[in-house]
């Protein structure tokens, strides 16, 4: 006989604990033994290229998928054995907006409220609050079918907050949003975190993770290939990157030689003729001067922060796959 699950969990117990999680779909291994922990009240960013297992992880943690191996708990409740208890405490915004097209925004939120056993009055109040908070007042009474992608996304986010979840799962919450609305969603996530909500969010953008997450976990082919704070991950990539693209392809070789002279490093050259290597403002300056002296015209020259692509390049020794997403919405 197993002891009854504890209803009160020690505060030092992580909000989410994942141990050796495995999930296969036929011949595809979506998760090949994932371990991760999310501290209470923290924001964890789950990064990875298409098909790396981010959505699968979120679906297992939100009780939508049964894992084939390993174990996962949310606030101490096992996601398989104790799924109803998990559902009482979580909110989920999936990768694809899960709202009812044929209902209005208000009706969608009230529906969720009623399903969460709020009284009619509370459901209405909570709906008004969220409509206001997510700037949907104008469209509140309109059918969701007429919403733009960004409005639908925000409504979906609002729907996951109706029950004031302690743990929130956000699967690529800003994909398809314009910069203004992306910033707004970021503000919402920060505010939720400040209120004590634990957030696990997946993203393809290092910048987003950087803005929001205290901890990062990088997945590739269903495995954790790196984890740590954004700062430590970026340090792995090596700070800033210098990139230069000569105006004429014929000059690529000469610029590579020049960079070799200046740094004793070999730059990476991509198919567009762009040369990249880790760099500093001082190097940028020296390179600029030399290019000017040698009379090599350049189309682009500058420093940038590492992108997720750079992280992958460094972590896996190959670029992140750029193929179209092949996942099923099912």
């Amino acid at each position: 006989m197993a002891a009854p699950p504890p209803t009160v969990v020690a505060m030092n117990e992580p909000a989410i604990r994942v141990e050796g999680l495995v999930k296969t779909f036929g011949a595809t291994t979506a998760l090949a033994g994932v371990d991760l922990e999310v501290r209470r009240g923290s924001v964890l960013g789950l990064l990875g290229p298409n098909g790396s297992g981010k959505t699968t992880t979120v679906r297992v943690l939100s009780t939508l998928l049964r894992p084939d191996g390993g174990r996962a708990t949310v606030l101490g409740h096992d996601v398989v054995a104790d799924a109803p208890a998990v559902r009482l405490r979580i909110g989920l915004t999936g990768q694809y907006a899960a709202v009812d097209d044929a209902l209005s925004g208000v009706e969608n939120l009230r529906l969720i409220g009623r399903l969460l056993d709020l009284s009619r009055r509370d459901a209405r109040r909570r709906t008004d609050e969220l409509i206001e908070r997510f700037g949907l007042a104008e469209a509140a009474g309109r059918r969701v079918k007429t919403y733009s992608g960004g409005m639908r996304r925000r409504l979906d986010l609002a729907a996951s907050l109706v029950g004031r979840p302690d743990v929130l799962f956000l699967d690529e919450p800003t994909t398809g949003l314009d910069p203004r609305h992306r910033n707004e969603v970021w503000e919402h996530v920060r505010a939720l975190a400040a209120e004590g909500t634990t957030v696990l969010l997946t993203t393809q953008y290092l910048e987003e993770a950087d803005q929001l997450a205290e901890d990062l976990v990088v997945l590739d082919h269903g495995e954790v290939i790196a984890s740590g704070t954004p700062a430590s991950l970026k340090a792995d990539v090596g700070g800033q990157l210098l990139h230069v693209r000569p105006l004429h392809r014929a000059d690529v070789g000469a610029v590579a030689t020049l960079l070799g002279e200046l740094t004793a490093e070999t730059p990476a050259i991509d198919p567009t003729g762009e040369l990249t290597l880790s760099g500093t403002p001082a190097l940028l300056h020296r390179l600029g001067v030399r290019l000017e002296e040698d009379g090599v015209p350049v189309a682009e020259l500058g420093l940038r922060l590492p992108s997720l692509d750079d992280v992958f390049l460094t972590l896996t020794g190959r670029p992140a796959e750029a193929g179209p997403a092949t996942e099923e919405a099912a």
Binding site: M11, R39, R40, G41, S42, R59, S62, T63, L64, P84, A85, R87, L88, R89, I90, G91, L92, G94, Y96, A97, A98, V99, D100, D101, A102, L103, S104, E107, L111, I112, R114, L115, L116, D117, L118, D122, R143, A159, G163, R164, P165, D166, E187, R190, A193, A194, E195, G196, T197, A329, A330
Partner: protein, 281 residues
């Protein structure tokens, strides 16, 4: 000035206690399943009110069939069009509700497809609630489409000798049959998944079922093998019972057989549909 508007980095201390517990009861069994089912049925009804096209859809096809048959074949089949309308309308009522019942499958497939079921499944409600809700809302749709067809028939000139009670009984009978069939369409939706294929395959079931019956033409002119099928086809029995109720004639016999069929179909297909549904969700 010391005013700072710091919104960038948020390093709020991790609270040592979880913010106020959410006001959720977490009741998961018994009455809550029914309550959540009713809430989801409400959703289905609001959807129908917002987009009555869906309801018109299921009624329009039978209306077109009715018009075609009454004015093109009616004279040839029954001698004159108004006599034919009297004969055909009760059967077309059955057909209408069968088409509406096929819509149950499409609606469920749609919900699975768009991910709204994922939302429901992440909520602390019983797994049966969405299915109950869908079927609850659809029963109301069956009734509405039946009433629309009766009204339309009356406009065309259909006249019933029946009292209100008999009319209600006729509607209930066709609803019972549609309820039985909705399990077939639900099972189909769980197997096929893609809403459009569900619609197409649903038509493959509902068209032979309604045309291979005595809805439009009395069976007496058909070849023997077809008569054999038409005679056992539950649609014929249901249509006979509805004719009896609306126009006078035997009711108990065909109604009894029709209800037995409905019970049989439900007993076979409801468990299959529920099993597939549980596997899918």
């Amino acid at each position: 000035m010391t005013t700072t508007t710091n919104t960038a980095t948020n390093t709020a201390p991790v609270p040592t206690t979880v913010a106020q517990p959410p006001p959720r009861t977490g009741a998961r069994h018994g009455p809550s399943t029914l309550r959540h089912g009713a809430t989801l049925a409400w959703r289905g009804l609001v959807k129908t009110v917002h987009s009555p096209e869906a309801l018109i859809d299921v009624t329009l096809q039978p209306v077109i069939f009715l018009l075609l048959f009454v004015y093109v074949f009616g004279g040839a089949i029954a001698g004159d069009t108004s006599a034919y309308l009297q004969f055909a309308l009760p059967g077309v009522l059955v057909q209408t509700v069968i088409f509406a019942s096929a819509g149950t499958g499409t609606g469920l497939a749609d919900d699975l497809h768009t991910g709204i079921f994922d939302r429901f499944r992440s909520l602390p409600i019983s797994r049966a609630a969405p299915l109950l809700g869908a079927i609850g809302a659809d029963l109301a749709r069956y009734a509405t489409s039946g009433v629309i067809m009766l009204v339309f028939g009356t406009i065309l000139g259909f006249r019933t000798s029946a009292g209100p009670l008999a009319i209600v009984a006729a509607l209930l009978l066709v609803m019972a049959f549609a309820f039985a069939l909705c399990w077939v369409f639900t099972a189909l939706a769980m197997l096929v998944k893609d809403p459009r294929s569900v619609q197409g395959l649903g038509a493959l079931i509902s068209l032979p079922l309604t045309f291979g019956s005595n809805v439009f033409v009395p069976a007496s002119t058909m070849p023997g093998w077809l008569q054999g099928w038409v005679d056992v086809n539950p649609v014929s029995k249901t249509a006979d019972a509805v004719r009896g109720l609306l126009l006078g004639g035997p009711v108990a016999g065909p109604a009894g057989t029709a209800l037995l069929w409905a019970a049989g179909i439900t007993l076979v297909f409801a468990p299959i549909a529920v099993t597939l549904y549980r596997r899918r969700t």
